[in-house]
C-alpha cells in the first residue's frame, strides 16, 4: 500500500503526473490550476521525472503543443481551468477529432464576465461537445484516482480519445484532505507502457495529420467519432475493475447513494455530492426515502444506465453548478434525456447552484429535498428551473 498523506487536489494530481512520468507536458498557468503544473514543474526541475516541459505563451499554444507531441507519438498531459480552457476551445476539437489521448485535469472554475476565479462547472460544460471524455471528481482522492485511470482509458487502443479529469476549483484543488497514494511501481504497472499509434516520428512510414475533409467525407468521420464514444463506458468500467483490484476503491460510470429503495433523489456532480449525502442521511433518519446519483462520467453520458438507476423514482432534482442562459442547466438536459427512455417518467426539477464558487450549504440541500417530498406527494411541479442560494 502507498502512503496516506494530507494533500490538496492539485497536489494529488501533480503526484499522479509524477508517478506516470508523461513524455511531454505543455502548460500555461491559470488559477486555480496553476498550482498543479507548478508543483509538477518542480518535479521536472528536480529531475524526479524526465518529462519535456514546454512553457508556452497561452493555453491555445499549450494544447497545440500537446497535439503536436501526441501526434509525434508521445504520452502527453497538461492542466487548465476556466478562461484557459476557453482559449483552448478550437484545439480541443482538433485533439479529439485527431484521436490523440491527451490527459488534462480541468480545475473547474467560473467563466468571465464578471471575472471570478472560484469554482463552478461553466468551463467543463462549455467543452462537453468537444469529443473529450469527462470524468468529474468529488474530492482529492477521486481527482488522483481519476487521473491515473484516465491514462488507461484514453490510451486504450480501441478508442484513443483525450480525457479531462475535473475537480472543483479551490473547494477540491486547494483544500487539504486525506489521500491514499498508490506506490510508484503499482501506478507504473497499472498505466503500462505507452503505445504510439501512427506516430509522426516513425520516419519509415511518413503520414499527414490534419487533412482537409469536405462534404464528401466529413459527415462519415463524425459518425465514426460518435461510435468511438459509445465504446468508452465499457472501457471505463474495465479500468475501474482493475483499479479496484489494486486499491480496493470502487469506481463506475456514476455513484449511487441510498438510491435503491429511494422515492426521491438528487442528481449532482463533484464536491456538492458530499454535502448532499450528509443531508440525505439526516432525512433517512426521519424516514424519508431519499437517495443520490452522482455522475462521474459526463462524456460520454451513460443515458441508459442512468435511466435504469432512476426509473423507480417519483421525483428528481438535478443540481447544476453551471447555467445555460435561456435554457435548462446542462446536467438537467442530460437527465431529462435519460428520462425519455423510461416507461413511467418521474417529475424532474432543475436547481442552479453555487455559481462562481458560491457555497452550497446544507440548508439549500434541505430546501431541495423538502420540495421533492411535496412533488412526490402531489405530483405537481411549480417551477422547473430555479436558482438556489441566490440573494433576493
Amino acid at each position: 500500500m502507498g502512503d496516506i498523506v494530507a494533500v490538496t487536489g492539485n497536489e494529488a494530481c501533480a503526484q499522479a503526473f509524477k508517478q506516470i512520468n508523461p513524455d511531454v507536458c505543455a502548460a500555461y498557468p491559470i488559477t486555480p490550476a496553476t498550482d498543479l503544473m507548478q508543483r509538477f514543474s518542480s518535479f521536472v526541475n528536480d529531475g524526479k521525472v524526465d518529462t519535456e516541459l514546454v512553457l508556452v505563451e497561452s493555453e491555445h499554444s499549450a494544447m497545440s503543443a500537446c497535439i503536436g507531441a501526441a501526434a509525434a507519438g508521445g504520452r502527453v498531459a497538461t492542466a487548465t481551468s476556466s478562461q484557459g480552457l476557453a482559449l483552448m476551445w478550437e484545439m480541443l476539437y482538433i485533439a479529439a477529432g485527431t484521436r490523440l489521448p491527451i490527459i488534462m485535469p480541468l480545475v473547474n472554475r467560473a467563466l468571465s464576465a464578471p471575472l471570478n476565479i472560484h469554482g463552478d462547472h461553466s468551463d467543463g460544460m462549455g467543452a462537453r461537445d468537444t469529443g473529450w471524455i469527462q470524468l468529474y471528481s468529488e474530492n482529492a482522492q477521486e481527482a488522483y484516482d481519476n487521473t491515473i485511470q484516465a491514462f488507461r482509458i484514453a490510451e486504450h487502443l480501441d478508442i484513443r480519445v483525450p480525457a479531462m479529469v475535473c475537480m472543483d476549483g479551490f473547494i477540491v484543488s486547494h483544500s487539504i484532505e486525506r489521500v491514499e497514494y498508490i506506490d510508484d511501481a503499482d501506478v507504473k504497472k497499472f498505466v503500462g507502457e505507452f503505445q504510439a499509434v501512427n506516430p509522426l516520428l516513425d520516419m519509415d512510414k511518413p503520414k499527414s495529420y490534419g487533412p482537409l475533409i469536405l462534404t464528401d467525407m466529413y459527415h462519415e468521420y463524425k459518425r465514426a467519432q460518435h461510435e468511438v464514444m459509445t465504446k468508452v463506458p465499457n472501457i471505463v468500467r474495465e479500468v475501474a475493475a482493475d483499479f479496484e483490484k489494486m486499491t480496493g476503491r470502487k469506481y463506475d460510470l456514476f455513484e449511487t447513494y441510498r438510491l435503491d429503495d429511494a422515492e426521491i433523489a438528487v442528481v449532482v456532480m463533484s464536491s456538492a455530492a458530499g454535502t448532499t449525502k450528509d443531508i440525505i442521511d439526516q432525512y433517512r433518519e426521519k424516514g424519508i426515502k431519499v437517495g443520490l446519483l452522482k455522475p462521474r462520467m459526463f462524456r460520454p453520458f451513460p443515458f441508459l444506465e442512468i435511466a435504469e438507476a432512476l426509473q423507480h423514482l417519483k421525483a428528481i432534482a438535478v443540481l447544476d453548478r453551471a447555467d445555460s442562459f435561456g435554457g435548462y442547466g446542462p446536467l438537467f438536459s442530460e437527465i431529462t434525456g435519460a428520462v425519455m427512455s423510461m416507461n413511467s417518467k418521474p417529475a424532474v426539477i432543475n436547481k442552479i447552484f453555487g455559481l462562481g464558487g458560491r457555497d452550497y450549504l446544507p440548508d439549500q440541500a434541505e430546501q431541495v429535498l423538502d420540495e421533492l417530498v411535496t412533488i412526490a406527494k402531489t405530483g405537481k411541479v411549480e417551477t422547473i428551473k430555479e436558482y438556489i442560494g441566490v440573494r433576493e
Binding site: T98, P206, K207, S208, M217, E220, Y221, R223, E227
Partner: protein, 98 residues
C-alpha cells in the same frame, strides 16, 4: 458482418500514404488560364520560383517547359511576375474555356 463505410476510415483522419496530395487534381478550380509565349521568354525562371504550387514544369536541361494544367489554379502570379522581353510578357492570362 461487413464493415460500414465510415467504420473503415483511418483513425483520426490521419493520411497514411505519403505524397498522396498529388492525387488531388486542383486544375479544375481554374477560371483563368496562363498562356506561355515562348518567343518572349528569357528563361529567368521567375514563374517557376513564384508558382505557389508546382505547376511550372522544367526540362531535364533546366529550361522552362509548359504549364502543368492538372494543378495550375490560374492564380496569375506567374503572369504578374513575368518580366518578359522588351516589354512583351511571356505569360498572359486568358479566360478559361475560350
Amino acid at each position: 458482418m461487413s464493415k460500414k463505410y465510415w467504420e473503415k476510415l483511418p483513425q483520426g483522419s490521419v493520411v497514411l500514404e505519403a505524397g498522396s496530395s498529388a492525387k488531388f487534381k486542383t486544375g479544375g478550380w481554374r477560371s483563368m488560364r496562363p498562356k506561355w509565349i515562348e518567343e518572349n521568354c528569357i528563361q529567368c525562371m521567375f514563374c517557376w520560383m513564384y508558382c505557389p504550387d508546382m505547376s511550372v514544369k522544367v526540362t531535364a536541361e533546366g529550361k522552362r517547359a509548359e504549364f502543368d494544367f492538372e494543378y495550375c489554379k490560374g492564380c496569375g502570379i506567374c503572369a504578374l511576375e513575368c518580366p518578359g522581353k522588351k516589354g512583351n510578357k511571356a505569360i498572359v492570362m486568358e479566360q478559361e474555356g475560350k
